[in-house]
């Protein structure tokens, strides 16, 4: 079955959503989204600490702990994991897996050490890639801020060899734009490594998810914008903490549907709808029996 994994980018007390890994627009509290996605059949959850690298601090323990207490699906934490101690701390707080990018590139041995101490199934290698002219993909670090000159496909293979249990591949170019996943990036990595590949970045509609599974050969799909904005459309009052860029919520700007040109745009969707569409297209997904409210 293909896993659908909602991703919550967290800054302080709020979930934020950017475009191309830029911008920290608040969309609501994690307590609003996580349980909702869990009830709707999320196969896993991914929490990303958006500013851990930028400010040099880790802040998700509290929300991880609270989530693990009542949501019983695998929980992955990403952002600012720099050492074996960090991994231990996050797992102890209740996470099942950690995803590492910046620290892993700086010190690939961390991947091996993590796998040795905690098992490969706990270690996800996170890659944020941008497409270069000529078709190669370069790894970025620090939330898509710094270039590394490292080839993404080669690095994926190296990390899998070091013990990474899964690869989370994010297209920085497509992330948040709703123009679709980078199918080429996903496919190249999926064909190169023997571990599951989670595609991330760019979903604008159910068709995009279908395509990244069938063409991109993704084993799991990580989505954010289409779900968060879908959540917002369904809710009357969105709970959010007064911190950060809350102007979007205050103005209640409608997220426009697909614009005529460039086929760009977020088409908000409910998780259950998405799974139904995938099933209709013949893609095996986990279905839940929804309890009557």
């Amino acid at each position: 079955m293909i896993r659908i994994i909602p991703r919550l980018d967290i800054k302080g007390p709020n979930v934020v959503k950017g475009v191309n890994l830029e911008g920290m627009r608040v969309v609501g509290r994690p307590e609003l989204f996580a349980p909702h996605y869990y009830d709707e059949g999320a196969d896993e959850l991914l929490f990303m600490d958006t500013v851990a690298s930028l400010y040099g601090r880790n802040t998700l323990d509290e929300i991880v702990h609270r989530t693990a207490e009542r949501m019983f699906v695998p929980l992955t934490v990403s952002g600012g994991i720099r050492s074996v101690q960090d991994i231990r701390g996050v797992l102890r707080a209740g996470a099942d897996k950690v995803a590492m990018n910046t620290a892993a590139i700086a010190n690939p041995r961390l991947v091996a050490e993590g796998a040795e101490h905690f098992g490969s199934q706990c270690i996800v290698l996170s890659i944020e890639a941008r497409r270069l002219p000529g078709g190669r993909y370069e790894c970025l670090t620090d939330g898509g801020r710094e270039r590394t000159g490292k080839d993404a496909i080669e690095w994926a293979e190296e990390a899998a060899g070091l013990g990474a249990g899964e690869i989370l591949a994010t297209s920085v170019d497509n992330e948040g734009t709703g123009r679709g996943f980078d199918l080429e990036l996903t496919r190249l990595i999926s064909e190169r490594v023997g571990v599951p590949v989670i595609a991330s970045g760019g979903a604008g509609c159910a068709e995009h998810v279908r395509d990244v599974v069938l063409i991109g050969k993704a084993d799991a799909v990580c989505i954010a914008s289409i779900l968060h904005y879908g959540c917002l459309e369904a809710m009357k009052n969105v709970a959010y903490a007064e911190e950060g860029n809350t102007d979007f919520l205050k103005k209640k700007i409608p997220v426009s549907s697909r614009s005529a040109h460039n086929r760009r745009g977020i088409q908000p969707i409910r998780l259950a709808e998405l799974k139904q569409s995938l099933a209709d297209w013949g893609i095996e997904v986990r279905r839940t029996e929804r309890e009557a409210a």
């Binding site: 079955m1 293909i2 896993r3 869990y38 059949g41 196969d43 693990a68 207490e69 009542r70 019983f72 699906v73 695998p74 797992l91 102890r92 209740g94 099942d96 098992g119 490969s120 199934q121 249990g165 899964e166 999926s190 023997g194 571990v195 599951p196 050969k217 084993d219 799991a220 986990r286 839940t288 029996e289």
Partner: protein, 212 residues
């Protein structure tokens, strides 16, 4: 509700299992104390990692005999993932290792089929199918054929007696045993503590909790 002992032998996501047990209303006790084990009324053997290391740890902690004794006394014992694999006679993971020998059979590796997208380890949700035995009254009571649980494993069990198999799961070309049940001994290859509603139902059944 009686306390449930979760065996701590250095390998396993003890916290997750404990959280799920607590959520279901039971009281988890995490411990590696052999004396406690002998005295327990309900035991969960979790496990994540390598078979060889697991058996080494159990031996070092003097838990092997107590576990066999506990199982022989027909008290409820649930093995999760690697924990279930340890019930078997032997595993082919790494060198050939002897297991606890509670269930006749061995542990073998899943076959990778890269071109078809069948990767090892098997990570993700897969459905349980019955294998001739009724599920009602068992640890799978209330589940429907096809209900999915969350798996993370590279090896699977091959029980010699079909009678020990309660459910099977298909992955690639392999149709393997995913749930074992023999008397009070139960094994689940998947992680019920990470499998949402259906998983909690399985755990709840084991804990003898009445679910809505």
């Amino acid at each position: 509700m009686k306390p449930v002992m979760i065996v701590d032998y250095g390998l396993g996501n003890l916290g997750s299992v404990a959280r799920a047990v607590r959520f279901l209303g039971a009281e988890p006790v995490i411990s590696g104390d052999p004396a406690l084990l002998l005295d327990a009324e309900r035991v969960i053997l979790p496990g994540v990692g390598a078979f060889g290391v697991a058996m080494e740890n159990l031996k070092r902690l003097d838990l092997v005999a107590p576990l066999k004794q506990y199982a022989a006394s027909d008290r409820p014992l649930l093995g999760i993932c690697l924990g279930m694999q340890l019930f078997m006679e032997e595993s082919t993971e790494g060198d050939l290792h002897a297991g606890l020998g509670l269930i006749p059979g061995r542990v073998v590796r899943l076959q990778e089929e890269r071109q078809r997208g069948i990767k090892v380890p098997h990570i993700g949700w897969s459905g349980l199918e019955p294998d001739g035995r009724e599920w009602s009254g068992t640890v799978l009571d209330g589940l429907h054929p096809g209900d999915a649980l969350y798996f993370v494993h590279s090896y699977y069990v091959q029980p010699r007696n079909d009678g020990d198999i309660l459910a099977c799961t298909t992955y690639g070309d392999a149709r393997f045993c995913s749930v074992i049940a023999r008397g009070a001994l139960v094994g689940c290859q998947a992680h019920p503590e990470k499998s949402s509603g259906p998983g909690l139902k399985v755990l709840g059944n084991f804990l003898d909790v009445h679910q809505h």
